[in-house]
């Protein structure tokens, strides 16, 4: 992409305002940490003081020890890797399918009329209901798990993509038409950038659902993965292990979401959003100017 046309990466807000903003952001980040840290500390003290029983709800120190234990044996890395691999494959597949369907139905009214009702009906099925069928179809190993995650990811991505394409401002499209852009150029130079912010949001909700479904997938008989740690912890009565796995899920979910937002951020710098809005959130509907 050319310098003028491309989504430029460098420019902008005066340096000073930028820095001030960053400091404010960091401050808020710390503020967000305050509540969980406070709760953890309170629980730890309560258990130590004998005010609460830490057996079913182990205090942070026990949790830390369990995590350390899992990490030192190399188990934690193994489970995380297994879960991440499934998640990556399922997410990629789901994004691919959801995007392709969304672009097709969003672009061609005929395809939309033909496919959208069916897809909406499929979407209405609680995806967990597919589990038995997927096991019959794809076996109990990786394929069925990946498919389940993909199904979970595909629908929000499909909906988001379709919605984004359908709501592109007609007036902006007319600008492209008045410059005699062909179908492809129109898609590349007008539709794609116009849709991008909404698409990022769709990816984020897809990712969120993907994390939900990876757990469901791993409940159906996995021998490794964070979901396996959950099942194992329940069967062997190890609440600390369950909580440790939950904690890792929380961290991974947040981390992947942050990475997604960070990857998209350079392309969305043009967005005119209120300062408080979470980055990557859909832009406020605004008169194009």
């Amino acid at each position: 992409m050319s310098h003028v046309e491309g989504l430029p990466l460098t420019r902008g807000v005066p340096q000073r305002a930028d820095t001030r903003l960053r400091i404010r952001r960091q401050g808020r980040w710390l503020l967000g940490l305050l509540v969980p840290a406070g709760a953890a500390l309170a629980w730890e003290l309560a258990v130590r003081a004998g005010l609460a029983n830490g057996r079913l709800m182990p205090p942070p120190s026990v949790l830390g020890a369990t995590l350390l234990d899992l990490a030192q044996g190399g188990d934690l890395a193994l489970h995380i890797r297994a879960t991440l691999a499934r998640m990556a494959a399922g997410f990629a597949l789901g994004v691919l399918a959801g995007t392709a369907l969304g672009v097709l139905t969003g672009t061609f009214a005929g395809v939309r009329a033909a496919l959208d009702p069916t897809l909406q009906a499929l979407r209405a099925i609680p995806s967990i209901a597919w589990v038995p069928l997927f096991i019959l179809w794809f076996g109990i190993f990786e394929a069925s798990k990946i498919m389940l995650i993909a199904v979970g990811v595909a629908f929000p991505v499909y909906l988001g993509t379709l919605g984004a394409i359908r709501t592109v401002d007609r007036r902006i499209v007319e600008v492209g038409r008045s410059f005699r852009l062909g179908r492809l150029a129109l898609a590349r130079r007008i539709l794609f950038p116009a849709v991008l912010p909404h698409y990022v949001v769709a990816l984020r909700s897809g990712l969120g659902l993907g994390w939900m479904f990876v757990v469901a997938a791993e409940f159906m008989g996995a021998s490794e993965g964070l979901g396996y740690l959950l099942v194992d912890g329940q069967q062997l009565g190890k609440p600390a292990q369950i909580l440790a796995a939950i904690l890792v899920f929380a961290l991974l979910g947040k981390l992947t979401d942050t990475l997604l937002v960070a990857a998209a951020a350079p392309f969305l710098r043009w967005q005119d959003v209120a300062q408080d809005v979470v980055p990557g959130e859909p832009p406020r509907r605004r008169e194009p100017c």
Binding site: E5, S178, R180
Partner: protein, 257 residues
């Protein structure tokens, strides 16, 4: 030469926006179109711009019938419609992708200087005022050097002071390459100050009531006796062209008129 012959437009919902419009605009001419709301002014421009197809008649540029957007015809809309994901420079250069980068950047820089925003190339559209954004939109349409530029109430959203400023800008830009300008406006004074001819339209169906030739030397004083006289004449025509129900509140009473 832009020519329209018996052009009609009926929208799919049955609204007859234009009927039997015949008009010729000479190269380099500035033509203003005035008329009440809903009399088909925007429709007329959209037909010429190729954004909408005519249901009857023929529109031709230099004898060649138009089918769809034409490279020599540009349009500036009422709102700037800048692409928010491109910088000001990116917006101005939007129609210049066929040029090499140095050539494109040179043209953009020249255009920015011409509209009085030389340092604004790196800004985002959201960082512009309404008047600045409209100037950028004007530059975007003009850098491709169209032979015909259509303007649909380009300054109507701006206050009177900025509007006069931009009218001056438009005349200056026009004098560079002398494109044909077709300017739709609600502001009769604007029409009289800028145009060689003023087309007065009336609604239901949209058609031309009268074409006035403004034979005054430029630059024109807004308060000149000739101009004020012409203004009264146009107001009279517009009042006459209004549907009976609307005549009660005279055209002159509405602020932008």
């Amino acid at each position: 030469m832009l020519s329209l012959r018996h052009v009609g437009k009926t929208y799919p919902n049955g609204a007859e926006a234009l009927a039997g419009v015949t008009l010729e605009v000479a190269p380099g001419e500035i033509l203003a179109i005035v008329g009440g709301s809903g009399c088909g002014k925007s429709t007329l421009l959209r037909l010429v711009a190729g954004l909408e197809g005519a249901s009857a008649g023929r529109i031709a540029l230099d004898g060649v019938p138009l089918a769809g957007p034409h490279p020599a015809i540009g349009i500036v809309f009422q709102e700037p419609r800048l692409l928010p994901w491109l910088t000001v420079a990116g917006n101005i250069g939007f129609g210049l992708t066929h040029l090499s980068r140095p050539a494109r950047e040179a043209r953009i820089a020249a255009a920015l200087a011409r509209i009085g925003l030389p340092d604004y190339g790196g800004r985002w559209p959201r960082e512009l005022s309404g008047g600045q954004a409209q100037r950028v939109a004007l530059a975007r349409a003009l850098v491709v050097e169209p032979r015909v530029l259509l303007l649909d109430e380009p300054f109507s959203a701006l206050d009177a002071f900025i509007r006069e400023d931009l009218q001056g800008h438009l005349l200056a830009l026009w004098s560079d390459t002398r494109p044909t300008l077709v300017l739709v406006t609600h502001d009769i004074e604007e029409a009289l100050v800028l145009a060689d001819r003023v087309v007065v339209m009336q609604p239901k169906p949209g058609r031309i009531t009268q074409v006035l030739t403004i034979d005054l030397p430029r630059p024109r004083a807004r308060t000149g006796a000739d101009l004020l006289h012409l203004k009264q004449q146009v107001l009279g025509l517009l009042r006459h062209a209004r549907p009976a129900a609307a005549k009660a509140n005279a055209y002159a009473a509405s602020p932008a008129a």
